[in-house]
Amino acid sequence: MKDGEHSDLGNLSINGVGQAYGGRYRHVSIDGLARLSGNVQCETFRLNGVSRMNGGVDTDRMTINGVMSGKAGIIAKSVSIDGKVNVRGSLVSEEIDLHGLLKLEGDCEAERFVVRGGFGIDGLLNAGTIEVDMHGRCRAREIGGSDIRITRSSRRASRLLRRLFSAFEPQLHAGVIEGDEVHLEATQASVVRGRRVYIGPGCEVGRVEYELELLVDEAAQVKESVKQ
């Protein structure tokens, strides 16, 4: 939303259980359980609780503490999630900070994509900096960016993460992973391409194509590697 358009818009505030229409608001704030029927355009979107969105969200700053499910995509400047988000569309933002679980039917785009937890992205994860500290299953059809760092967490998991990802061993499944600096752990991928590539413990990769440097841990499997 352009600056200056916000001042004459009303806020949407739901406390407890409520429903609202979509539309243009200045600040959307949900504390409880809400269902929003249409697309929402706003300056900030804050959820503390559970929200079912029948449309998409176009906002500057989105903060989710709880569970959100949406039928259409999200466009934002910054997204901060503490909980679980499930969207039948794409998520496009400059910053994405996830503590929990993100599921997308579409693509995910960001300049920075930082995760503590897990994600399932049906499409392409395209982000400049990708930092994933896996606590559960992660999946994307394709991953592309500049700095890609996927680690299997050794840190003590938060209560939220223990609740979301109880039994499964953290692993990333992806088709193609391409980046400049690529650091992978516990990753299963068909093809990994990069300038400098590190294939760490727990990885199973079909093919690695690297430009400058390739390091493969002894606890990792790489079927073939080619220097470009």
Partner: protein, 211 residues
């Protein structure tokens, strides 16, 4: 209609760019989604691009990226950007649109010796068609092309479009085909000329922005 492809790998090497840059330009919509052509090769999934289009686009981005922020750059690449105004002399100077065609068909869009980008492009497309068809294309058919594009092209932004001239006896029928795909004509009709508009826009911009 077939066109030459270049693989992502060859592209990175030839233009000396990185994966990070390519993915970033894709996020900024500097490279259209349609240009990413995924194919299975014996080494796995690989991505290809229309060769001439991508080489021109990357050259443009690399040339301007220090002067303009990526968001501004995306502005200059929007195919039908109407607030860029081009002086008539620039068009004839770069050999894009002959003066006669400008005078006859620019019409009301012409103000202060300048044309909006999209109107200038329509004239260029008409000029390219008349070059393909030669003498046989009547003067007024240039006007018909310009009006067709004016009316339909804005609605088709984002789709690959082709301008096609059909002939069945005297004169030509101008068609705009959106979305790609082959066209088949009956025995009396010939496809006299065709112009892919995405390539035409690239050629138009390249010539226009050349110093």
């Amino acid at each position: 209609m077939e066109q030459e492809l270049i693989s992502k790998k060859e592209l990175l090497e030839q233009m000396d760019i990185s994966y990070g840059q390519l993915y970033r330009w894709k996020r900024k919509r500097l490279i259209p989604e349609e240009w990413f052509i995924r194919k299975s090769t014996f080494t796995g999934q690989e991505t290809f691009f229309p060769k001439r289009l991508i080489l021109a686009r990357i050259a443009h981005i690399v040339q301007f990226k220090d002067d303009l922020s990526l968001d501004e750059l995306a502005g200059t690449l929007s195919p039908l950007q109407t607030d860029i105004r081009i002086a008539a002399e620039e068009l004839s100077m770069h050999g894009l649109v002959p003066e006669t065609m400008l005078r006859k068909h620019a019409g009301s869009a012409f103000a202060n010796g300048q044309l909006p980008f999209d109107q200038a492009f329509y004239l260029y497309a008409a000029h390219r068609m008349s070059q393909s068809l030669g003498e046989k294309m009547a003067e007024r058919e240039a006007g018909i092309i310009v009006r067709l594009l004016r009316e339909q092209l804005p609605k088709l932004e984002g789709k690959p479009c082709e301008l096609i001239a059909l002939s069945a006896g005297g004169g030509y029928w101008m068609l705009l085909q959106a979305g790609g795909g082959a066209l088949y004509a009956d025995e009396r009709t010939t496809i006299a000329a065709s112009l892919r508009l995405d390539e035409a826009i690239e050629a138009f911009k390249t010539k226009l922005y050349a110093y």
